[in-house]
Subunit: 637 residues, 2 copies
C-alpha cells in the first residue's frame, strides 16, 4: 500500500472542485458544526458567574440571574451585530474583514491574531475538558491524559479532513442530544418548580456555605464585573459562523443568519433556563459536582435522563473543539489570501476543506496540550481574551460602517474596499447598538486582561504583537517576491543570456557519466568534464578509461584538479563559480550533473550524496542552471 | 556561525590527505588507544572466574590461580597467532582478512559480523560500567544514568572525531595511571605477602562462605569450564591492533607487533598478579565490593593509592569503549572497501579518521544503551561471544595459511588473494599452535553460547545471520550497479538520443517563468509551456499575461489542461510522461522547471513545493532530464 493509498483510505477519494457547492452545509449540519462551542458553554457559563459571587456568601447567588440576563442581553447584541456583518460581508471573514474594510489593516490583523489564538485554545481547552470528564470516570487512565487528548485531537482532525459535510453529519447527534437533554431537564425543572401538571416539588438545598464576606464600593462593583466577565464565556465561538458564510449552501448569507439566530435562541434558552433554575433552586457551586450536574440530578432524581445529560455534556465538551476547526482554517485562509500567512493555507485540500489550516491547528493545539499537560484550568486565563478583543474590534468596525451607510441618500450605493453598501433607513439606530456592543465587549476584555494578567493573560498580551509582526513579515516577503517577479516593463533584452559552456562534474567514466556528457554535447561546443583527483590511483584509472572512448571524449575538455582533502565539494564549487563569475560574467552557466537513481529509495544510503549536495550548494548562485541527467540501474544509456 | 564553523570549532581544521602518515600513532599512544579494553579487563576478569567457583565453596577458590594461568596461556597463544597475522597481513584487517584469504567469503563475513557486534557492545558495556561507577558514588544521579551514558558516548565520539593522534594523547594518562596503580598494588602485595624488605604481613581474611556444594563428574567439569570461560573476558579487545595496523607509524607491522607484545605483557602481568594475590590472600567475591577493590584496600590499607586505583578503574572502564572506536571504524572500512557495507564507511573524514564509522558506532551503541537502560549486566550475555567466534575463525585461517606456507620450498614465494607468502622454516610448528588456539577458542565460544543462550545469547545467534544477509544484499547491489555502469562494449550508438522537445511547466507568466522559457528556447524549436487550469479566473489572467509578450511567447506552444482538482501534480506528470513515452519513445525528454529560490531557506515554507515535488516524481522515469532554472529574489532575469 502506497502513501497515496493510505491517504485515500483515511480521507476518502478527492472531490472535484466543481463539487464545492454540493459539499456545503445545510442549516441542520451547520448548527452542529459551528455551534458546538457556544452551546457547550452552558456546561460551565452559569457556574462561572456563581463561583465568583460565592465569595460574598450564598445569599449573593441570587445575583446570578440578573447577571446571567445581562450576559444574555450582550449575546443578543453581539449576534445582532454579526447578523449585520453577514449581510454586509456575504463572502465571510467576520471581525477580520469588517476591521479591514472599516478600521484599516492594523486593526484587522489584531483581530485576526486574537481570533486565531482563541481558536487554537478552543481546541486545547475543549479536548482537555473532555479528557478530564473521561479521567474523572476512569481515574486509572489519568497518567495517559496527554496521550488521550492527542488521540482525541487526531480523531477530530481526521473527521474534519474528510470534509465539512461529513463532519457535520457525525457531529450532529451529540450536539442535538445535548440540547434536547438539557432542555428536557429545564422543562421538567420549571414544571416541578411551579407545580405544573401535578409535578412533585423539588426538595430544597441545605445551605452549605458558612463564611460570608461583605464588600462595599469599588470592591463590590469589581466583583460583580468579574462575575459578569465569567459569564461572558458563553460568548466564545459565536463569531465562527460569520467567518464561515461560504461554507453554507446558497443562499449563503440567509442560511448563515438563520443558523446564527437558531444558535443564539438555543444557546440562550439553555443558559437562561439553567441560570433561572440554579438561582431559584438555590444551588451552590462546589468543587465536587458541577452546577449542571447538580441541577440535572435534583430535577430528574438521578435516573436515565441524568446520565444522558452527563454523557452528552462530556461529548459536547470534546466537540466544542470543532468550532476551532471551523474558525481557524477559514480565518487563516482569508489571511493567506491577503498574503499575511503562507499561501498554501488558502488552498483547499482533497475534500475541499482547508486541509493545511486544519493540520496547522491540530499541531498547534497538540503542542499546547503537551505544554500544559492537558490541564485546561491552566489554559483558561489565556482563553476568551481573544474572542472579546475581536468582538470589540468587530463592533467598532460595524459602527464605522453604519456611519458610512448613514451618510448615503436613499437608493444610493457605494463601493467600499471589499463590499458594496446601500442606503439603509435605520443605520443610525444600528450604529448606536454597535457602539454599545463595542463598549461593553471592550470593557469585558479589559476586565479579563486585568483579572487574568498574572495567571497567564500576559502571554496573550505578548502573543498578539508577535503574531502581528509575523503577519507583517510574511506580507513584506510576498510583496518583495511579487515586485521581483513582476513583468512590468519587461523586454526580451532583459533576459540574461546563456553562456556557451557546459560543465559536467564526473568522478569516473561509466555509462552514467557518458550519458551526461553526450547530453551536454548537444547544449554547447565547450563541454568540460570536471574531475577532482584525490589520489594517484584514481587519476590513473580515470585517464585510462577516458582515453578508451575517443569518439565520445574527443570534443570534450577534461579538467582535472588535484586536491589533498577528501570532501571534493569545495573544489567543484570553486571551479564552477569561477567559470560563472570570471569567464562568463552576467551569463547563465549550465552544469550537467550525472545522477545515479537507485531502484529503491532505501538504496540511496549506499551512494555518496555528492550530486545532491552539489545541487544544494549551487542553488545559491543566481546564474547557474543545473541539469540532472538521471541514470537508472536498468537503463540503456 | 554557520554549520561549517561549528564543525571546525568542534572537530578542528581538516587535515590534508598527504598528512595521513603524520597523523599515525607512535607506540606509546597506540597502546593507550588500542589496549584500553584488554587492560581494563583486569578490573573484573579474576572475579569472573571466582564468582563461578564460589558455588563450590570458598575452598574451591584455590582453583582460581590454575584457571587464571590457563587463561593467560590462551592469551599468549592468541597474541602469538595475531603477531603472525600482522606480519602476514601488514595492511591490517585481522580476522576478516585472514578468513577472506584462507577460508573464503562466508567465514570472513561471519567473523566480521561477530566482531562488529562485539565492538558496539564494547562501547555500550564499557560506558554503562563507567556510569555505574559514577552512580555508585553519587546515587542521586542514578535516574539520569541513560543521559550520562549518552553524554559519555558523545564525548568519546567527539575526541575520536578529532583524530586518532589527538585521542591517543588524551587517553594515554588514564591508561598508564591505571596500569601503574595496579602494578604498585601488586608489588606491595607481593612484598608484604613474602615479608620482603621488612614489609608488614597482610592480615588474613575471615572465611565468609558457609554453604558448600560438592559436584562430581560432568557437572564439576562443566563448572570449571564455565569458570574458565568467565576468565576469557580478559581476551576481549586483543584483536583490535590486528585490524588497525595501518594506524601505526611506519614500519607499521613492526610497531604494531611491539605494541601488541607490550599490551600482552602488561595485561597478563596485571591479570596473573591480581589472580595470584586474590588466591593467596584468600579473597572471596561478594556483591558489595569488587575483588580488585578488596585487594587494593587490603594491600594498601585504604590510603591514597587505594583511591588512585579506584578512580582510574572507573576511568579506564569508560575508556575501554575506545577499543570499540578503533576496531569498528577500521573493520567497517575494510568491509566497505570490499562492498559489503556502504562505501562511505571507507572514506576518511576531515581529520583522517573514518568519521562515518565512528558516528555509526556511536549511534548503534547509544541505541543499545537506551534499550538496556544503561544496565551493563543485562548486556553481558551478548558480549564476548563475538570476540571468541572471531578468534576461532582467525586461528583456523592462520592454520590454513601455515599449511600453505609449509608446502613452499625454501626461497619460494606465492601470491595469495591478498598477500604474498614466503617459505618459513617453522610453519608446521606454528600450524599446530594455531590448531590448538582455534580448538580452545572454539570450545570457549560454544561454552559461552551454551551458558548464556537463554539469558540473551540467542540474540547473537540470530544477529550473525541477519548481518550476513545485510552484507550480501549490499554486495549484490553494488555488483548490479557496477555491471549497469560498466562501459564494456560501449559504443556511441548505445547512447539514448535526445528528443527535440522541451516542456516548461508554468503556473503564471512572470520574470521567473520568462527566464525559464527563454532558456528552453535555446534547447529546442519545440518549446511547450504547460499549464494546468484550475479556475476560469486563473485561465483569464494567464492568457492576458501570455499575450502581452509576443516576442517571448511567439515561438512557444501554450498547452493548457483544465483540471477539476487542486493538486496539479498528477496532470503535469501525465502530460510529461505521455510526451516522453508516446510522442518521443526511447528518447530523452527535457523538462525545464522555473524554480523560485527564496533568500533564506526559512522562507521556503511560504511557497508551494510544486517544483520540488515534480522533480521527485519525475526522477522515477528513466528518460526524463530535468533542468532547474533558478530565479532569485534579487535576480535580473
Amino acid at each position: 500500500m502506497t502513501l497515496t493509498d493510505l491517504k485515500r483510505f483515511l480521507i476518502g477519494e478527492p472531490f472535484p472542485t466543481s463539487r464545492e457547492v454540493h459539499e456545503r452545509l445545510d442549516k441542520i449540519r451547520a448548527l452542529a458544526v459551528f455551534a458546538s462551542d457556544p452551546i457547550s458553554s452552558n456546561a460551565y457559563a452559569t457556574e462561572a458567574i456563581m463561583s465568583v459571587l460565592i465569595v460574598l456568601g450564598s445569599g449573593a447567588l441570587s445575583l446570578t440571574l440578573p447577571l446571567g440576563l445581562a450576559v444574555a442581553g450582550l449575546v443578543v447584541l453581539v449576534i445582532a451585530s454579526y447578523i449585520q456583518t453577514i449581510f454586509h460581508y456575504p463572502d465571510g471573514g467576520g471581525a477580520y474583514t469588517v476591521a479591514k474594510d472599516n478600521l484599516g489593516t492594523s486593526a484587522s490583523l489584531v483581530a485576526a491574531a486574537a481570533l486565531l489564538t482563541d481558536y487554537i485554545l478552543t481546541v486545547s481547552v475543549s479536548v482537555s475538558a473532555g479528557v478530564r470528564a473521561v479521567t474523572s470516570a476512569f481515574p486509572q487512565v489519568f497518567e495517559y491524559r496527554i496521550l488521550i487528548a492527542l488521540v482525541a485531537i487526531a480523531f477530530i482532525t481526521w473527521i474534519n479532513l474528510r470534509g465539512v459535510r461529513e463532519s457535520g453529519t457525525i457531529f450532529a447527534i451529540p450536539t442535538y442530544a445535548f440540547v434536547g437533554g438539557v432542555l428536557t431537564v429545564i422543562l421538567i425543572g420549571l414544571a416541578r418548580y411551579y407545580g405544573l401538571f401535578g409535578a412533585a416539588p423539588i426538595p430544597p438545598v441545605v445551605d452549605q456555605v458558612a463564611s460570608e464576606e461583605s464588600l462595599v464600593g469599588f470592591a463590590y462593583i469589581w466583583l460583580l464585573l468579574r462575575a459578569f466577565a465569567g459569564g461572558t464565556t458563553a460568548l466564545t465561538g459565536i463569531e465562527a459562523i460569520s467567518n464561515g458564510v461560504q461554507a453554507f449552501k446558497p443562499p449563503e448569507s440567509r442560511n448563515a443568519v438563520v443558523t446564527m439566530v437558531a444558535m443564539g435562541v438555543m444557546a440562550m434558552t439553555l443558559f437562561v433556563g439553567i441560570t433561572f433554575l440554579a438561582t431559584h433552586l438555590k444551588l451552590v457551586p462546589h468543587e465536587a459536582e458541577s452546577i449542571l450536574s447538580q441541577l440535572a440530578r435534583r430535577v430528574t432524581g438521578g435516573g436515565f435522563l441524568y446520565y444522558w445529560v452527563q454523557l452528552f455534556t462530556a461529548l459536547i465538551l470534546f466537540l466544542a473543539a470543532n468550532t476551532g476547526y471551523q474558525g481557524f482554517p477559514q480565518l487563516s485562509s482569508f489571511l493567506a489570501k491577503d498574503n499575511y500567512l503562507p499561501r498554501w493555507l488558502h488552498n483547499r485540500g482533497d475534500r475541499l476543506v482547508f486541509s493545511a489550516g486544519i493540520l496547522v491547528l491540530a499541531v498547534a493545539a497538540g503542542i499546547i496540550v503537551v505544554i500544559f499537560r492537558a490541564d485546561e484550568i491552566a489554559m483558561l486565563p489565556l482563553y476568551a481574551l481573544g474572542v472579546m478583543l475581536s468582538f470589540s474590534i468587530s463592533q467598532s468596525g460595524m459602527f464605522r460602517l453604519m456611519g458610512r451607510i448613514a451618510h448615503l441618500e436613499p437608493g444610493q450605493t457605494m463601493q467600499t474596499l471589499v463590499t458594496e453598501i446601500h442606503y439603509e433607513s435605520n443605520a443610525r439606530r444600528k450604529q448606536v447598538m454597535n457602539a454599545f456592543g463595542a463598549l461593553i465587549t471592550g470593557i469585558v476584555f479589559l476586565i479579563l486582561v486585568a483579572t487574568k494578567f498574572v495567571e497567564g493573560g500576559w502571554v496573550f498580551v505578548l502573543l498578539i504583537p508577535a503574531l502581528y509582526y509575523l503577519f507583517s513579515t510574511i506580507h513584506r516577503h510576498y510583496e518583495n517576491v511579487s515586485a521581483a517577479l513582476s513583468t512590468k516593463g519587461l523586454t526580451i533584452e532583459d533576459v540574461t543570456s546563456v553562456a556557451d559552456v557546459v560543465v559536467v562534474p564526473i568522478a569516473d567514466v561509466h555509462r552514467g557519466t557518458v550519458r551526461a556528457i553526450e547530453y551536454a554535447k548537444r547544449l554547447s561546443r565547450d563541454v568540460r568534464a570536471l574531475t577532482i583527483i584525490t589520489s594517484p590511483e584514481m587519476e590513473e584509472r580515470l585517464m585510462r578509461r577516458w582515453n578508451r572512448f575517443p569518439e565520445i571524449t574527443a570534443d570534450v575538455t577534461l579538467v582535472t584538479i588535484a586536491y589533498d582533502y577528501r570532501d571534493i565539494l569545495n573544489p567543484l564549487v570553486d571551479y564552477i563559480t569561477s567559470v560563472n563569475e570570471e569567464e562568463f560574467p552576467d551569463q547563465i552557466t549550465t552544469i550537467v550533473v550525472p545522477e545515479f537513481v537507485p531502484e529503491h529509495a532505501s538504496e540511496r544510503i549506499l551512494h555518496n550524496q555528492t550530486a545532491n549536495r552539489l545541487r544544494a550548494r549551487l542553488k545559491q548562485y543566481k546564474d547557474i542552471v543545473i541539469i540532472d541527467v538521471p541514470f537508472h540501474l536498468d537503463s540503456q544509456i
